[in-house]
């Protein structure tokens, strides 16, 4: 492979690897848990966000599709996993109904809706984690790209998509638990979700997923296909005149990205213990864009770092300055945009003064 792991990716992955080995190992064998288990879950959650950010960077950073609806794919993956976890509860729910999840019992469902069939099988749920977001992305993308919807128009209809899904999932009739969503999970594949070992396991899985996501994305962007994606971003019309079927290329990354987002969602659900329609909210999707922009658009690793940074900032600031943390976060965003045009990663790399072959820098796709 042509240098899949460049220097920045190398450093990031090494760091990630050390964390993944050190934390669970430390917690298992050292006295008194040097890293409290809530931090493990927290980090696991950050890694899911990071994967989501990488997925968005793939379509936004490299292909110029600004999706304001990526949260939808994430949430769908999360719901697919959540449905499995719901089914795993079995008759341990409050109404002790072996067939129906609790919320269905008290909303008077007589039988399991058809779209819940199969989710008692783990493999089926895993398949759905990929297929559901993938299928939605395929259908949506197939129409939108064929119709040559681009720029803000595409952004806004992705936003409309996630907004519509949010409203739909809020409805109790949909059979996904309404605004409370799915919660009260007990275990996965027989492992107690509240045990430290399961937590550590999920954390490691998230790290692996992130690594895989980064490598896949890197492989795509490094390939000739990746270069064509950048062509599409910079001049879609010109790319067509070279004979490339732009809509197919877009559709390809779009679906890959949606599936990656779905995986991130699926890992996120068991770690935070709830999945609800709030994840579909347009503001959430905008936040994903913010992570990528803050970390450095079109750099993959930067996107991951951006997600982790913002999420960590939120965790810390809401605890430290609960009353005024929004000032701090807002100021951070403004500061980064004005003073770090290439994101945090760009600044770090500039200070390291690494003179290298110029990376194609992201430019704004014309709207």
């Amino acid at each position: 492979m042509t240098r899949l792991v460049d220097r920045r990716m190398g450093i990031f992955l090494t760091g990630l690897f050390i964390l993944t080995v050190a934390i669970p190992a430390g917690n298992l064998w050292m006295e008194g848990q040097p890293v409290p288990s809530y931090i493990v879950s927290l980090l696991g959650k950050y890694l899911c966000y990071a994967l989501l950010a990488v997925a968005l960077d793939l379509v936004w950073g490299y292909t110029g599709i600004l999706s304001l609806g990526h949260g939808a794919f994430f949430a769908l993956g999360g719901y697919a996993m959540g449905m499995h976890l719901m089914r795993e509860i079995g008759d341990r729910g409050v109404y002790a109904n072996p067939e129906l999840p609790d919320f269905m019992v008290f909303l008077n469902y007589q039988e399991l809706p058809w779209f819940w069939y199969g989710f008692d099988q783990f493999w089926f749920a895993c398949l759905m984690v990929l297929l559901v977001p993938g299928a939605l992305a395929f259908v949506f993308g197939w129409f939108a790209f064929r119709s040559r919807v681009t720029g803000v128009y595409l952004s806004i209809i992705t936003q409309a998509m996630t907004y519509a899904l949010m409203l739909a999932f809020f409805r109790n009739e949909m059979g996904f638990g309404g605004n409370n969503g799915l919660t009260d999970f007990k275990d996965v594949l027989g492992f107690d979700l509240q045990s430290d070992a399961t937590r550590a396991g999920l954390f490691v899985l998230s790290a692996l997923a992130l690594t895989a996501g980064l490598l896949i994305s890197k492989a795509i962007t490094k390939s000739k296909l990746g270069q064509i994606l950048v062509c599409v971003r910079d001049s879609e019309a010109r790319t067509r005149f070279l004979g490339y079927r732009v809509e197919r290329y877009k559709l390809f990354v779009w679906v890959v990205s949606a599936m990656m987002a779905g995986v991130a969602g699926a890992l996120y659900t068991p770690q935070v213990g709830i999945i609800n329609p709030g994840e579909f909210s347009p503001a959430n999707s905008i936040e994903i864009v913010i992570w990528v922009a803050l970390g450095g658009r079109g750099t993959l690793v930067g996107a991951a770092i951006g997600a982790i940074l913002v999420a960590a900032a939120k965790t810390l600031l809401t605890g430290w300055f609960p009353e005024i943390w929004l000032f701090a976060l807002g100021a951070l965003f403004i500061f980064v945009t004005i003073f770090m045009p290439k994101g945090v990663l760009g600044v770090v790399e500039n200070t390291l003064k690494r003179k290298k072959k110029p990376e194609p820098e992201p430019r704004e796709a014309e709207a």
Binding site: L66, F140, F143, A144, S147, R148, V149, T150, V152, Y153, I156, I157, Q159, A160, M161, Y163, A164, L167, A168, F170, R171, A237, P282, A283, I286, V289, I290, A293, L294, R297, E323, I324, L326, F327, L329, G330, A331, L332, F333, I334, V336, T337, I338, P341, E364, E366, A367
Partner: protein, 554 residues
């Protein structure tokens, strides 16, 4: 204040209130003795007033009825005070008093004589409670007492009260009043009241059928509500007449329902238009993905609140002018904030439009939290001036004044904006700068200044929208967030950069929503509208009013 033209021949030349009241009293006493004899007559007016604090709501109701039956004109002010919840019993001496707030203090006046009892300490009096049922009875009672009042507005209210609480005992009273009535609207209202009363009473069949005809003429919801129960009438003639009338009314209503839906749609559209139109400039024209737009709207709303607050505390008589004062101020404040945002942040980002999203998102967080810190997280009260309150009827359609004014306001703002952009030099410069900043500078345009003005204009208009939205929605730090998604939707759906498109998009989405809502429910209607937008964009990938051709390709 306009004095009503004298009507009652016995006291015709008099305009003096006391004499009028006396005339009325004489008249009413005659009638009262006619309609409500019995034990009530034994109790004096004073006794009854003293009885008001006693017992439960039902008993209080009975006392009110007796007061009305007494026909004593002094009852009207007492009942009004009671209705407004200002009638109290002094803890010190058990007197029934009206409490009025004078310069911040509660001052008690004797309910009957009006004699002043002085300032009441906090918790020094017990309120005589009223509830909805009682209030209804009081309204009816005052109605009986004011059916022949000199002021036609009062008579109209009385007739309407009689209509909504038909009382067979009052039939003669109503007919007498109708005889004497010669103001058209009041006479009509009295006809309706008589008809309603006839139906409630055990009137002869012929009279009831005639009454049904009258109600059919009336043809509105209220008529429906009176006629519907008649379908169950044992008398087949009546039931048939009612059924015919109902069918006629309902056919009529279907048409008006359509009209009403269009109106609702237009009015929702005007709200969308107002919310979006500032964005049509900052985003549509300038290309700044302005996530702080909603907060600029919010600033406009808070400016309105602030203005009203000052007016409330210092110049209460100006309250009706509050919006007219607030509008330019809101424009200025939001515009100034907009200019500050542009100069302080956005101007570094031209050529990187997508990054404006990140920065303006940060700004929106800061603005939200600033407002929260200054004004608190709660809703703030913004009142409707009198000319923005209430509704009027067009046929069977209710049009509320605030919606009407907002619609007109939105169109006015749109027209002014269109004029500025298309017909003024600064408008031309704005468009030139946003299309090619470097070349515009080479043409001698002060790009920095124009940028600031453009953003300021968009922001100022957002502020204006805030003034209007404060009239129908929450004024809270979250105000902006609830409009931002819709605003972007409207601008893009209409075709970014085309403000006619924004207009068309706002109204078509508003109307689509309002036509779907009755069938699908509010939630599904919203979902359907979103799906519609997604599908529509497939057909027209650059929005409703797309700019086409070579000009946009590069």
């Amino acid at each position: 204040m306009r004095a009503a033209p004298p009507r009652n021949p016995t006291c015709a030349p008099e305009r003096d209130m006391t004499i009028l009241r006396l005339c009325l009293a004489v008249l009413l006493t005659c009638l009262a003795t006619l309609t409500a004899p019995g034990p009530a007559a034994a109790q004096s007016f004073e006794d009854l007033v003293a009885d008001l604090p006693e017992g439960k709501f039902a008993e209080r109701s009975a006392v009110v009825a007796r007061l009305a039956a007494l026909g004593d004109p002094r009852a009207v002010p007492v009942l009004e005070v009671l209705r407004d919840g200002n009638l109290h019993v002094l803890k010190s001496n058990g007197a029934v008093v009206a409490i009025r707030e004078i310069a911040g203090d509660d001052v008690a006046y004797d309910a009957i004589t009006g004699a002043e009892y002085g300032i009441v300490p906090r918790r020094g009096a017990t309120k005589i409670r009223v509830n909805n049922g009682l209030r209804r009875d009081i309204r009816a009672a005052i109605g009986t007492l004011t059916l022949r009042a000199p002021d036609p507005a009062l008579r109209l209210a009385a007739a309407e009260a009689a209509f909504s609480a038909p009382d067979p005992d009052q039939l003669d009273l109503l007919r007498a009043a109708r005889e004497a009535e010669n103001t058209g609207t009041v006479a009509e209202a009295l006809d309706y009241a008589i008809a309603a009363t006839l139906i409630a009473a055990d009137a002869p069949e012929a009279e009831q059928v005639a009454a049904i005809e009258v109600l059919r003429e009336m043809g509105n919801q209220d008529a429906l509500s009176i006629l519907t129960p008649l379908l169950q009438a044992t008398n087949p003639v009546l039931a048939q007449a009612a059924a015919d009338a109902l069918a006629a009314i309902e056919a009529n209503q279907r048409f008006w329902n359509m009209a009403q839906n269009v109106w609702f749609g237009l009015s929702l559209g005007s709200v969308l238009l107002l919310a979006a139109i500032g964005l049509a400039i900052t985003f549509g024209v300038m290309g700044v993905i302005n996530m702080a737009h909603g907060e600029l709207v919010m600033i406009g709303a808070y400016t309105t609140f602030f203005v009203q607050e000052i007016i409330r505390t210092s110049f209460p008589h100006l309250f009706d002018w509050s919006l007219l004062i607030a509008a330019p101020l809101a424009f200025a404040v939001a515009g100034a904030v907009g200019v500050a945002i542009e100069r302080g942040c956005v101007r570094f980002l031209y050529g990187r439009p997508l990054e404006t999203l990140l920065a303006t998102w940060g700004i929106s967080l800061i603005l939200q939290q600033t407002v929260r810190s200054i004004f608190g997280p709660n809703n703030r009260e913004v009142g409707n001036p009198s000319w923005m309150s209430g509704a009027f009827e067009v046929g069977q359609m209710t049009i509320t004044y605030n919606r009407l004014w907002i619609l007109l306001f939105a169109l006015a703002v749109f027209a002014v904006l269109l004029f500025v952009l298309k017909k003024t030099a600064i408008g031309l410069q704005m468009r030139a700068v946003t299309q090619n900043r470097a070349m515009a500078a080479n043409m001698g345009i002060r790009t920095g200044w124009v940028d600031a003005m453009t953003f300021g204009l968009g922001a100022g208009i957002a502020g204006l929208a805030g003034v209007a939205l404060s009239q129908i929605d929450n004024v809270s730090p979250n105000l902006g967030q609830s409009y931002i998604v819709d605003s972007f939707m409207v601008v893009v759906f209409g075709g970014a950069g085309n403000i006619w498109g924004t207009l068309a998009a706002a109204f078509s989405l508003g109307i689509a929503n309002k036509f779907l809502e009755p069938y699908a429910g509010a939630v599904l209607a919203k979902i359907l509208v979103l799906v519609f937008i997604i599908l529509f964009i497939q057909k027209r990938p650059r929005g409703l009013f797309a700019v086409k051709g070579r000009a946009v390709e590069n």
